[in-house]
Symmetry: C2
Subunit: 198 residues, 2 copies
DNA sequence: GACTAAATTTACACTGTGTAATATAATTAA
DNA sequence: TTAATTATATTACACAGTGTAAATTTAGTC
């Protein structure tokens, strides 16, 4: 890297920083669909037209911001520490680094990953599944199994419900290559491995 | 149920059906943000003004559609079969029913849960984590562990990566009540229970 | 200090929004 | 069947936002 040292104009850096900060700010206050180029430019204290010198529209800007985010995360996951170690050993520091990175930039990540951004349907569906998992875990059998594993209760809930909805979405995305029954069986297998202690 | 038999005007039923079908159709062709009341009414072959007699705006319409979806799903999860059985036994038919319901209405669910709806950031992040999980599972150790459990490879990938990103998002949503290190430890525990065979 | 590039200002044509008033069509009830 | 009610259509309007163009000002680079 750093071959030809592009050295971007500080005005460009400044404008983009203002825009991205303003975007995060607005996302803390409004739903995405309410963020207009108008408002964004106003909040960023730049001219509306200037926005178009940098991004085609707001989705395009989000795309670019996502690119940057991915670049950051990739840098962490490909850190030198991970190369010579085994998978088992390298996973731990990678995970810690990733989570710490997110924690350090939590204002950004929270707004980007965890606000109203989740379209209403997924959100509602997830909530329902979460209730289901909670109910399940609160039964005596669930409590016992959980206690044996040393897994925090709410974390197990997050994990289980996200896994469920995420797998369903992936299944749909891949045009349902397995029958519902087969999927259900697989869920049972995966579940069991959470709860049955060795 | 069926106390006062509200008996909605067939015109209302028709208009809402046209609108919702048109919405699904458009969502198959465009990103959500490109769906305007204009286009929607045109596609539904109703007058634009009529839309406002039923919904405040498009997010409001999505909200209502989500309500209906949740009602359907809830009906399945609270089916009579589930009441007298134990948790373990009732879970299986519920899961099958749920998945079959989704499969039957897959055009709707696919568009609603699995299209471009996932805001770019989550999508990109999920893709990255998926790569990570794939790489991990393709190693000899991973293959062996997987074979022992009888879990399908790609399903394990979907499951693991969704669980990961979903848990991270929940952690952020709850304002990070655990340290990154603790979270990482919990991930290791949950992971281990997938792979270590009894 | 001159050159270059970014940002601003102003303007314009366009698409979409939300509401109001009135007219027409379909449904329901007498 | 007629009369009522109620949904939808039509037209119109004020407003907010979009994306682009041209000329100008401001800031950075060499």
């Amino acid at each position: 890297m750093d071959h030809a040292a592009p050295r971007t104009d500080p005005r460009i850096v400044r404008t983009r920083r203002l825009l991205r900060d303003a975007f995060v700010e607005l996302l803390e206050e409004l739903d995405v669909e309410k963020i207009s180029v108008n408002r964004l430019a106003e909040r960023a204290t730049i001219n509306r037209v200037t926005f178009y010198l940098h991004y085609r529209d707001i989705p395009d800007m989000m795309e670019k911001m996502a690119d940057d985010m991915i670049e950051d995360i990739r840098a962490i996951l490909q850190s030198p520490a991970s190369r010579q170690l085994s998978v088992q050993e390298s996973e731990w520091p990678l995970m810690v680094n990733l989570l710490q990175h997110i924690a350090e930039h939590c204002r950004f990540y929270k707004v980007i990953l965890a606000t109203r951004r989740t379209p209403i349907f997924t959100e509602r569906f997830l909530r329902l599944l979460t209730d289901m998992v909670v109910e399940r875990i609160e039964r005596p059998e669930g409590e016992a199994a959980l206690a044996a594993t040393g897994v925090q209760r709410d974390i197990a809930v997050w994990y289980g419900s996200s896994a469920l909805i995420g797998t369903i979405i992936s299944w749909l995305r891949h045009d349902m290559p397995y029958t519902p029954v087969y999927m259900a069986k697989q869920f049972m297998l995966l579940r069991r491995h959470h709860e049955k202690k060795s």
